[in-house]
Amino acid sequence: MDSPGEELNHRQDSSGSANHRPQAPGSGSVRDRLEQGLWRSARLLGEALLGPVDRLGQLARPAGGLIQRDRALGLLYLRNAMAMQDTLGTGLARDYGRLLDRSAALDVLLARELAELLPMQLARVEESHRRRLLDILEWTIQRRPRLVLPVAQQLPVLLSEMNDRSLRRFLEQGMKLHLEDQRKLASFLRVESDAALTALKKLRRGLALKDVLGVLSLYARAHCGEDVRILSAGSLQQSLDPVQGGRSARAFTDGHDIYLPDVVDMFGDERDFQVYRVGTAHAAGYLEFGTFDLYLDDLPGEWPNRRPGESELERLFRSMPRSRLARNLFQVIEDTRVLAALDSFYPGVARARARLTAPLAGLRPDPASLGAVERVLELLARRAWAPDSQDLAGLGPVGRPDHLSPMVQDLVDRAWERIEPVKARGKDVAASAQLLVELYPMLLGLEQRASNLGPPPRDIRTARAGRFRRRRASPPHHGKRPVSPAGFPSKSSPEAAESAPPGATLAPQRRSRASRSLDERIYSVLDKFKQRGEAASYSQVRRVLRSSRVPVDYREMEAWLASREGPSGGLVEDREPPAPSMGQLARPLKEGVMEPSRPGRAERLASYHEWDAGIGDYKPDWVRVMELPLAEGSEGFVQQVMSANRSMILTLRRQFEALRPRDMALERALSDGDSLDLDRVVSAVIARRTGDVPSDRLYQRKRRDRRDVAVAFLLDMSSSTNEVVGRDGKRVIQVEKEALVLMAEALEAIGDSFAIFGFSGYGRDQVAFYVAKDFHQPHGAAIRRRIGRMGWRMENRDGAAIRHATARLDGFPAQVKLLMILSDGKPLDCGCHDYHDRYAQEDTRMALREARKMGVHPFCITVDPQGREYLRRMYGETGYTIIDRIEALPARLPRIYRRLST
């Protein structure tokens, strides 16, 4: 256990960066050993993965330790960890190594299996759950190392079901029951047994985010009118930040998305939902009332130059030496402004806030336990939160007055005098920024005086946070955490994770890489506007650019693809994809179109022109489309879909059969028609004889009421459809296929002709067009199996595929022709340098226009929440629909079809 390598690992983890440390005496032997094993493998890997060698440095130490234990394990780790560095981040890659080291100390073979499995599982779960996953596995290894594999297999699903405490209890129960039988344990963890279900029900308390996600997403969207996503804050938000109210999972926004805790369990009744509602309204309020519309160069003062990927808020904070202090102070000021605006516009939110304040006051920190500056911030935060700033008692614990109190109170009063005016209508974020600049020196001064005054308060832990140690710019979990006896960072108490003062916080520093690069583009556009003296706000520019969120250069594109790409190449046919190693992530993009399962030959070749928006003209014979038949897949997928949706299929069939027209409908009682309706003529004559007024509706007509609709479904089979969505780990393409299976049943019932196509490809000379069902083929088991065979492939060159599908529809005789495109995003083909962004969208738009000219009605169904702008451009106001949650697609598709075609 106490080998030098082991020790090295730990030191490195606690110090954050090992590069600048002086060489410890005796590390020479370690270095020697490292060099033996490492550089040999690094050379091999460098060739295989084309990774820059310097990145290896960060993995060198964990790898060294592992190679010492077992060479194969070390190599495996290196290979996977390098792929992880790009997709999941260096921190996780290192922690992954540490976990392997732990388990290798007990069982090398086990560690090898874990090394294979873990990257997959980490990629499957949401970002906020990844560290939890590692923590729970560490915990498992300490207890029952043999059971770590089944636990690791099932954990991704369970993480979103329960909080850490409940999850540990659940695992403990499972382990106790099935210590000997791993198979039974796995089944317990899959919640298949009654015992498991009971245990789960008992442990799962409170209101889970996943149960109200739909409502909250719509709610946030309604409030700020922007496409914000609601994501899980999970246990990410664990900080010692006094303003944020202790360690807590609290709602926050990074300026792009809104993060909410996984579970709220504070009241056990309807008020738990109100906690979510208030948090969402508050976070959406920052977006709605323009917190991110800051443009520093418009304000007086000297500002540092903007760093790449930096937001204006971060830049503002950096302009002050104590940026963390600046951030916390700004939070208080901006909350005063935003909450006042929120309250005056949404009286209902103000009431909900007021109702939650008193019962949850106990969650606020006791001022007496805080240092002088934190105390000021906490007291100001309470005033910001108080609906009318009158009644400050009951907002939180008061604490015993001490030697700091007079000084603190004085500063709070003076600061509040300055802050309160931002509540006025029409104040914007610039006002808050200016206040920050004014008040910041006051707090610094207070800190000075307080430290001259004498001993800090008793609580060492909070006092340490109070001194605002310079933290590295890494997320909180990289910071120091209390170290448990086992040598691993201990988690904060799980109970705390669900309780935090209601409301939300700002966290621009937590933007994802994608959001940062989007910001970079937004600011460069904004700068250009400002240089030209034109008015534009950050949110306006974002709204435009969000709709074209596509990576810019090739490297970025590559990273983006890698992050979306699942670990399984080729066709995904069945539920559980096999678990190959992470190395396959680096699957070369140069490969051409993947061969269809059975070496297929193209049945038809066709070439089409393509619209070049740059030159404003068509490029003749530019793309080549190959039509490939799909082989039949196994029964598995289809049977599973059919049996899981049996009742829905029955309802659909009934509904659509009712729409099926009778061949020759006889219309009677017409005032005008082909022939006389004899019955009615007779009664009219009788009426006349008896002096009544006869009806004039004496005619009848035979109307050919044939429903003459042909529809082609065009499924985007690009690699991005392999993304895992929803909690049950389904991929976009699986859900789309499910929808198609159900849709086909409905179409059978109504009797419309239909075809099912898929498309993919790479580059302009290899657009692959797969035919699962042609118009003339009768629907049946074989077709269903072919639908099951559809899987993700390469890129999507929409224009060409739409042209080919239109040509196929054009050749089929029907009065109404529909082309339904199921897509997951924008057209994109990086097998060719041009086919993205505007070029691709314009070409698609032209292809759609050509289709309409040929009498084909295109309609697009997409799952891209950012799709509104570009879809409107390509498909027109009414030619598309965005499905909020893809899980709803199987139910929604038939409804959309019915609306379109009747």
């Binding site: 409502v215 709610y219 379109l900």
Partner: protein, 270 residues
């Protein structure tokens, strides 16, 4: 042969209907009428298209003949037909013919609901000939200068069978309608129902937020008409929450998430 034309008095708009112009639509409409041009009113359900036409008919002192279009509407329903009354055959004018004879406005509401072959009869009336052939009577009516054809169309239906044919569309000037801006919409709700300013602006704020949800599962945003319904319930003494539930969340959607969201939005303001 006897001919019956409905008396013009029945079609005069006597009391001035309330309409708050949002842009230049009233002016454009009047100029189109003077220039003898047909007009298409395009916009979502319940945003005031029908009210606008009624208002204009009153303003221009023209009789208004409204036809709510539906799938079984026949050309005879529009033009007129023979009826047998006693031993006599009587020709009865349809609303279109009546409007031509009286020189009024004919308003075909939700014109896409009518079958395409029915709509062909209006074509000769909409170009510069301004003629209505009455085949059964063997006559052709020339429309007087004051005659005007107005149709309405809601583009939000998303049904390929319910798109307006281009040959029809191209014959009309198009006035686009949308929900009025917040202050004006609040003024409309207030004037129509007499509820207080505070409630009216709360209703309009709710509507603004709900309209952010269109193409998020909501096919159309909440209409001004529904706002007025909610306000009317309130002025009858119903509680604001109940009124909004009846007029908005339950009317707009069957989706549980959406209707819950709409309830929460209602609670934000009331």
């Amino acid at each position: 042969m006897k001919q019956v034309t409905p008396p013009v008095e029945d079609y005069i708009v006597r009391n001035e209907p309330y309409y708050l112009p949002v842009g230049s639509e009233a002016d454009l409409f009047q100029k189109a009428w003077k220039a003898s041009l047909p007009v298409l009113l395009k916009g979502p359900t319940g945003c005031g298209k029908t009210r606008f036409v009624t208002h204009m008919a009153h303003k221009l002192s023209l009789p208004l003949f409204t036809v709510a279009c539906h799938e079984d509407l026949t050309a005879a329903d529009l033009v007129g037909r023979f009826l047998i009354l006693g031993d006599e055959t009587v020709w009865c004018d349809g609303p279109l013919t009546a409007a031509v004879r009286h020189g009024g406005i004919v308003y075909l509401d939700e014109v896409v609901e009518a079958r395409k072959d029915t709509l062909v009869v209006i074509h000769p009336l909409t170009d510069d000939r301004r003629l209505l052939p009455l085949e059964k009577l063997g006559a052709v009516l020339k429309a007087p200068d004051s005659f005007m054809m107005v149709i309405s169309y809601n583009p939000g239906y998303q049904s390929v069978l319910k798109e307006l044919k281009h040959s029809t569309r191209q014959r009309f000037l198009t006035l686009e309608f949308d929900f009025p801006p917040p202050e004006q919409e609040a003024a409309i709700v207030r004037t129509e129902t007499g509820i207080d300013e505070h409630l009216a602006s709360a209703l309009v704020n709710i509507a603004g937020k709900i309209r952010n949800l269109t193409d998020r599962g909501l096919e159309e945003g909440v209409s001004t008409r529904l706002l007025i319904y909610a306000a009317k319930l309130m002025s009858q003494g119903a509680s604001p929450r109940d009124s909004c539930k009846a007029a908005m969340s339950s009317s707009l959607t069957d989706d549980p998430d959406l209707s819950r969201t709409i309830d929460e939005l209602t609670a934000d303001f009331l």
